[in-house]
C-alpha cells in the first residue's frame, strides 16, 4: 500500500506508542523510545516486518514509544498506515 497523506495513531500513555506516518520519496523509520537502549533493534524489526507485510516502500515513519509490546506496535502502525492510505 502507499502512504498518500499524513496520519497518526496511538497515545503517549505508558506501555503504548504513538506512530506518525507521512508520504516521502524513500522509506525512513525513526524511533524514539524510553527503552531505546535495550529494545530499539526489536522495535525496528517489528516495524520493518509490518511495513513489509503491508507492502509499504516509501514514506516517513516516526515512532515515539513508551515500552509498548509488539502486539501494540503492530496494531498502532497498521492503524496509522490504513489512515494514511485512504484518499
Amino acid at each position: 500500500m502507499r502512504i498518500v497523506k499524513k496520519a497518526q495513531a496511538g497515545t503517549m500513555q505508558s506501555s503504548d506508542l504513538m506512530v506518525f506516518v507521512e508520504p516521502g520519496d524513500e522509506l525512513s523509520v525513526e524511533i524514539d523510545s524510553t527503552v531505546k537502549k535495550q529494545f530499539e533493534h526489536l522495535i525496528r524489526q517489528k516495524i520493518d516486518q509490518v511495513l513489509a507485510a503491508q507492502g509499504v516502500t516509501a514514506g516517513m515513519v516516526r515512532v515515539t514509544d513508551r515500552g509498548a509490546l509488539d502486539y501494540a506496535i503492530e496494531a498502532r502502525l497498521e492503524t496509522a498506515l490504513k489512515r494514511a492510505g485512504e484518499a
Partner: protein
C-alpha cells in the same frame, strides 16, 4: 477522559488550576483541554500554534498518567491542525516528565525549560551539514527587513575577523518583508563576500518559539527570560555544530529589544566560550543606518534618499513591481518590524 474546555465556567476553573500551580494563565490559545473527575477539573493543558503550555495537574492526581493523556490529546490536535514540530514550555523541574514522553530538551533556564517533540533540531542541523566549514568561525543572526548598507557593513567587518561567517536570516514571517524576499536580498547583498554562508534560523533562533517578545511587545518582562533561553539554545546546540566561537552584532541605538538582546548575549555567551563582538553601526550623514528608517522612507516614496541607505540589489527590489504590495502595506501601517 480528556475533554475540550469551551464554556466560561470550565475556562475559569482551568485558570484557577493553572494559577494554583504557579503558572501564568495566558489568553490566545488554540486548544484548552482538561480531565474531570467527579465533576471537578483535575488536569489541564493548552496549545497555542506549535507551543504546548499551561500544564497543571491537581496535586492529589499527580501519581497517575494524566500528563500523558493531556499531551497525547494536544499533540494529536496540533498535528491535525498542521503544526509540526511541537514544543513545550515548562518549569525546569518538570522537564524530565516531558522527556519521559519522548520530548527532547532544547534549552533550560532558571525559570523555564523548552523542549521539542520529535527530532526537528537534529534534522535541521543534519540538513545544514554541507555548509559546515573548518576553522575559526563566527555567526550573526539578522532579520534584515530589508537588507541595508548597515547590514552589509556589519557582515563585511565580521567576515574579516573570522575564517567563515554564518549569516542566519530570521525565518519567522512576522516582518513587513516576507522571509523569502529578505533572504533573497541578503544573498544578493553579500554575494561578493566569499567567506559568508547564508542560512536561516528555522524555529531555533529568534523565532516565535524561542523569542516571541521580539515580534510582540517591547516592554514585556518575560522578554529577558526569552532572550536568555534563545541564547542558551544557540550556544549549547547550534554553535558547537558549526564550530562558532564568535557572535557578532551591530550596536543598537534605536530599538530597546534588540539593545537588550545584545546585553543578554554578553551575559550568556562568554560562559560557553563564545566571544561577543559588537560592531559600530554604519552611519549615513549623521544617523546610524537602520532598516526601520528604510521602511519609513519607502512608505513616503522617497527613493532618492533610499539609495544612500541600501545597496543597489535591495534598491532594485524596492522599486520593482513585485514590491508594490509591500509599499502599499507600509503606507497603511507602520510597525516596528
Amino acid at each position: 477522559m480528556v475533554t475540550e474546555l469551551n464554556c466560561v465556567t470550565d475556562v475559569v476553573a482551568a485558570q484557577d488550576l493553572i494559577e494554583q500551580s504557579g503558572l501564568a494563565f495566558e489568553d490566545g490559545f488554540d486548544d484548552l483541554v482538561g480531565v474531570f473527575e467527579n465533576n471537578e477539573l483535575v488536569a489541564v493543558g493548552a496549545r497555542a500554534g506549535n507551543i504546548l503550555k499551561m500544564f497543571a495537574v491537581e496535586p492529589a492526581h499527580r501519581s497517575g498518567d494524566l500528563l500523558g493523556e493531556l499531551v497525547t490529546n494536544l499533540v494529536n490536535r496540533g498535528f491535525s491542525a498542521g503544526f509540526d514540530p511541537l514544543f513545550v514550555y515548562t518549569k525546569p523541574e518538570y522537564a524530565t516528565s516531558f522527556e519521559a514522553l519522548n520530548f527532547s530538551l532544547l534549552a533550560s533556564h532558571e525559570q523555564v525549560a523548552l523542549l521539542e517533540y520529535g527530532k526537528g533540531l537534529k534534522h535541521w542541523l543534519a540538513s545544514l551539514r554541507p555548509l559546515v566549514r573548518p576553522g575559526h568561525n563566527g555567526a550573526v543572526v539578522m532579520n534584515c527587513n530589508p537588507f541595508t548598507l548597515g547590514h552589509r557593513h556589519l557582515v563585511e567587518s565580521a567576515a574579516r575577523q573570522v575564517d567563515n561567517l554564518y549569516l542566519f536570516v530570521v525565518r519567522e514571517d512576522n516582518s513587513v518583508f516576507p522571509f523569502e524576499v529578505r533572504e533573497r536580498l541578503v544573498r544578493a547583498g553579500v554575494a561578493t563576500i566569499p567567506n559568508v554562508q547564508v542560512l536561516d534560523t528555522s524555529h531555533y533562533a529568534v523565532s516565535n518559539i524561542t523569542f516571541p517578545a521580539y515580534f510582540l511587545d517591547e516592554h514585556n518582562p518575560v522578554a529577558v527570560i526569552q532572550m536568555e533561553l534563545d541564547l542558551n539554545l544557540f550556544a549549547a546546540q547550534i554553535a558547537p555544530f558549526f564550530v562558532i566561537t564568535r557572535r557578532f552584532a551591530g550596536t543598537e541605538p534605536y530599538c530597546d529589544v534588540t539593545g537588550g538582546y545584545n546585553e543578554a548575549m554578553k551575559r550568556v555567551l562568554p560562559a560557553y566560550g563564545i566571544e561577543v563582538v559588537e560592531i559600530e553601526r554604519k552611519r549615513s550623514d549623521q544617523a546610524a543606518i537602520s532598516a526601520s528608517q528604510v521602511r519609513a522612507l519607502l512608505a513616503r516614496g522617497q527613493f532618492g534618499a533610499l539609495a544612500e541607505l541600501v545597496p543597489a540589489t535591495t534598491l532594485d527590489f524596492l522599486c520593482s513591481a513585485e514590491a508594490a504590495p509591500i509599499r502599499e502595506g507600509l503606507q497603511r501601517n507602520r510597525g516596528r518590524h
